[in-house]
Symmetry: C2
Subunit: 465 residues, 2 copies
C-alpha cells in the first residue's frame, strides 16, 4: 500500500498532501532553499499529539522515514526532505495550552510561533527569553529541536535553559513525557536536554513546558562606535572585565555597517568603523549604564545612550540583516561559529587573511556576549555566471574559518544546528569516538532510523573490527 493510502485509511480525519509539485516547498528549509526541487514529499498535518504519534507509527510500519518540520525557517537543512520521505508538519499544533504566572511557565504545542507566545505573555508581565533572529516566524518546536539561540542568550541562556518538560513522540510512535513542572529535578538521565537540540533525530516534540521570566523593570540601549573593527573587537573584553552583564551585546564590523547603510539608508558607517550595540536591563539601570560607559569609553569607544524612541529602529537594523540579495549578484556562505569570547578579536583579525588567501570578502556580526559569530563569506558573480556553482575557493575559505574557530576552542555551530549543510564541518569538530557514541545513542532510541535519518550526526569513520 502506498504511504498516502495508508495514512488516509488509518487516519481518515488527518489532513495530508500527496507528493506533488505543490509540496515542493516542503522539500527544503531556509538553509537549503537555494537548490529547489520539482516534486515534493507527502506532507501530513496532524492536529493533536496523538495524531502525530499515530502518523509516525504508520510511517514506521511502512518503512518510510519521517522528517519533522516546524516553520521551515532552519538554516542548516534539518527539515529538508526527500521525495520518498514523510514530512510531519506541526503547523496545526498551535495551542498555548497554559500560562501559569505563579509557576512562571507556559505549556505550548510545538507549532506556536515564538513571537506569538511573547505577545500572549506580555499582559502577565512575563516573557520567554530565547529570541532567535527568526522569532517572528519560527516555531517553538523548531526552536527546541535546534536548541535555538538568539541575542539574549548570554544573560538568559539558550533554549535548553528554558525547557522544563517535553512531550515527545518516539520513533516507534510511543508518546512519552520527560521532565517536570518544577525548576529543579534530577531523576534519571536528563532526557529533556538530550531531546533539545537533537534536530528531530530522536523524537518529535509535541508539547513543551517552558520556563518564563518577569519582564525587566527597565531596558536601555547603548551604542559604542570604534575607529576600526579590530579596536571594537578588542574593546568587547572591557564588558567582561566590568561587572555589568548586558542582556544583549551585538558587534557589527565595518563591512556590515556599510552593507546595512547601503540597503537601509542609515548612516552607521559615518559614525564609526565598528559598533557594539548593547541592551542593558533589570534593576539599577543607571548604575549599570554608568559602569558600562566608563568601561567602553576607556577601551576607545564613543558611547551614547540611545533615546528610548530610537532604540527599536537600531535593533530592527541589526535584525534585518545585511542586505543579501540586493546589489550585485553574489555567491555566499553563511557561518554560525562560536568561540570563547577572548578569541573574538582573533577571528576578526583573521578575515583579512582569508580575503587575501581566497579572494573572498568576509564580514560578520557577532552575538558578542556569548562568542557566537555569523560570518558571511562572499564572492561576486561575474556577468553570465549567475546560477552556476560557486568556485571552490569560497567553500575552502569557509572551511578554513571553521577550522580556525575550532583551533581556538570553539564550535562550528553556535545556534543554527548541523542539519545536512554542516555535517562535514561537524565531523571536523567531533572526534571519531564521540561520533560513534552519538550514533550508538541514536541507534538505541531509533533502531530503524525512522526519524530524520542522515541529519545532525556526522557519519563516523567505521571502526576496524
Amino acid at each position: 500500500m502506498s504511504l498516502i493510502d495508508a495514512l488516509t485509511r488509518a487516519h481518515p480525519a488527518l489532513e495530508v498532501l500527496p507528493a506533488s509539485a505543490a509540496t515542493a516547498p516542503y522539500a527544503y528549509d531556509a538553509g537549503t532553499r537555494r537548490t529547489p526541487v520539482e516534486h515534493g514529499p507527502v506532507v501530513a498535518f496532524p492536529a493533536t499529539a496523538a495524531e502525530v504519534a499515530a502518523v509516525v507509527r504508520t510511517a514506521a510500519d511502512l518503512g518510510v522515514s519521517v522528517v519533522p518540520r516546524g516553520a521551515g525557517t532552519g538554516l542548516s537543512g534539518g527539515a529538508s526532505a526527500g521525495a520518498d520521505q514523510l514530512v510531519v508538519s506541526t503547523e496545526r499544533l498551535t495551542r498555548i495550552v497554559e500560562i501559569s504566572p505563579a509557576d512562571e511557565l507556559a505549556v505550548v504545542e510545538p507549532g506556536v510561533i515564538n513571537a506569538d507566545l511573547n505577545t500572549a505573555l506580555a499582559p502577565y508581565g512575563l516573557f520567554y527569553a530565547p529570541d532567535p533572529a527568526s522569532y517572528a516566524i519560527s516555531t517553538l518546536g523548531g526552536n527546541i529541536a535546534t536548541n535555538a539561540g538568539g541575542l539574549r542568550c548570554a544573560k538568559y541562556g539558550v533554549t535548553r535553559e528554558s525547557v522544563l518538560a517535553l512531550d515527545v513522540v518516539l520513533p516507534d510512535g510511543a508518546l512519552v513525557h520527560v521532565g517536570h513542572r518544577s525548576i529543579k529535578g534530577v531523576t534519571g538521565l536528563d532526557l529533556v536536554s538530550l531531546f533539545v537540540g537533537s534536530e528531530g533525530v530522536l523524537g518529535i516534540v509535541v508539547g513543551a513546558t517552558l520556563r518564563l521570566r518577569p519582564l525587566p523593570v527597565a531596558r536601555r540601549t547603548l551604542t559604542a562606535f570604534f575607529d576600526s573593527t579590530g579596536e571594537g573587537a578588542r574593546a568587547l573584553g572591557a564588558i567582561t572585565a566590568s561587572r555589568v552583564r548586558p542582556a544583549v551585546v551585538e558587534f557589527l564590523d565595518e563591512p556590515t555597517l556599510r552593507d546595512i547603510d547601503a540597503h537601509s539608508g542609515s548612516d552607521l558607517r559615518r559614525r564609526g568603523a565598528s559598533l557594539a550595540l548593547v541592551e542593558l536591563d533589570g534593576f539599577g539601570i543607571d548604575e549599570q549604564t554608568a559602569e558600562l560607559i566608563t568601561a567602553l569609553t576607556a577601551a576607545g569607544g564613543r558611547v551614547a545612550v540611545v533615546p528610548d524612541g530610537e532604540a527599536p529602529l537600531l535593533w530592527e537594523l541589526r535584525r534585518s540583516g545585511r542586505g543579501l540579495g540586493q546589489g550585485a549578484p553574489t555567491w555566499y556562505v553563511g557561518e554560525d561559529i562560536a568561540v570563547p569570547r577572548s578569541a573574538l578579536p582573533a577571528v576578526f583579525d583573521y578575515f583579512p587573511v582569508l580575503e587575501a588567501r581566497y579572494g573572498v570578502r568576509v564580514s560578520a556580526v557577532a552575538h558578542a556576549g556569548d562568542g557566537n559569530l555569523h560570518p558571511l563569506l562572499k564572492l561576486p558573480i561575474p556577468p553570465g555566471l549567475e546560477g552556476t556553482p560557486a568556485p571552490p575557493a569560497l567553500g575552502a575559505a569557509a572551511t578554513d574559518l571553521v577550522a580556525f574557530a575550532l583551533s581556538r576552542g570553539g564550535t562550528v555551530s553556535g545556534e543554527h544546528g548541523i542539519g545536512t549543510v554542516k555535517l562535514d564541518w561537524a565531523a571536523l569538530e567531533l572526534d571519531d569516538r564521540v561520533q560513534r557514541l552519538s550514533h550508538a545513542i541514536k541507534d538505541a532510541v531509533d533502531p530503524d532510523d525512522v526519524l530524520n535519518p542522515g541529519k545532525a550526526l556526522p557519519a563516523p569513520v567505521l571502526q576496524p573490527a
Copy 2:
C-alpha cells in the same frame, strides 16, 4: 588474576588500597552510611585522567564493575560499592588547571572541592555559582555527576548550566572530550548535559570546563517572619508576583525553627512561626530591597534587612542543618522532592495530614525559589529499640509524600539524585517507556554494565515479547 594484582602489575605507579576493613568507608556514601560494612572494596586513586582511563580499562577487561567516587558526600547511595567492585576515587585529581577571566571559565580536575574553586576565584572577582549545602566538602566531579543544586539555583541555574565541556572516561576506558569553551554550541547531541547528572553510570568525569560569573556588586540579606508555616508558605508567591528575583530564597517551617534554636541557641521561633530568608544581589540593590519589602509585607511578613555583620550567622544557621543526631534518638527519612512553586503551600499543608495518618513528625526547609524541599520525616525511637529498623509507617509516610509531590507535577529528587536509595521512588516518577529508553541509552554507552551498575536508573518492568 585478582583485581589488585592486575591493577598493580598494569599500573605500578598507581596508588591502590586492597579490599580490607580499612576500605570499609569506601563502601558507602553519606546516604548509605547508616548501614556500615565490615569489609570494603578495592580502591584506586589515579592521579591523572589517563590513569583513570587505564584503570577503568583494566577493570573492564577483568569483568569488574567500577564505582566512581568523589568525596563520598552524596545523599542517595550513588557512590556506595560492593566488596566485589572497584572504587575509582578522584581524590588525587585536585588541580585547578586554568582560570580565564577573559572567557569567564575555569578548567578543573574532578577532585577539586567546590569551595576551594571559589576561594581561588575570589581574587579575580569571579565565582562559580552552584552551591550545594556540601560545598565545603564535596567535589566538583561529584557535583557534576549529580547535577548538584544548592541555594542559588533559581537565579544562577543548577550545575548543568555552569558546565561548558567535559573530559570523560567511557566504560571501555576511552577518554573523550565533549562540549567547548564557547558559551553557545549545538554541534551534535548534547552529550555534556547527558553526562551531567548521570551519577557515574555513563562515564567518569576527569576534567571540566566550568562557566564563571562576576561576583555581584552588592548583596543584601532580608528576613521575613510569619505567624504560621502556612502563612509563610503562601507568602512566597508574592516574591514570584514581584519583579525581584532573589539569588536565594530559603523557607524554614515552624518545627525547623524550633530545631535550629534547640541545637544552636538561636531565638528564631520567638520571632515568628516560619521564616523566609532571602538574599538579594546585583545592581539596584536598594530598588530590589524596597520592592521585595513591599511585596512580603503585604503578604503578612515582618520584614527586616539584616545588618551585613549578622547575615553570615543566619546563613550558617540555615546551612548547618536541623540538629539531627542531637537529643532523643530518632528514626528518620530525608527527602529531596521538588514541586512547581505554586504547590509549596499545599506541600506544607500536607505535613499535618501525614502526621495524623502515620504518627510521624514532618518538617521541611525549602529552596523556595525553585520549589525544592528537604522534608524530614521522623519517628522517636522508644527506649531499648535503638539499632532496630524503623517501623513501616515511616517509609510509608515518605512514599506518600513523594506521591503527593508527583501528583503536583513535581519530582522525587530536586538535587540529590537517585543512587540506590531513591530507585523505588524514581520508578514512581518515570513511566515505563521512559525507564526503558534510559536503559537503552545506558546499554548503548556501557554495553557491559561496567560503570556504577544498578544505580540511578530504576529497572523497567520487562516488556512482554
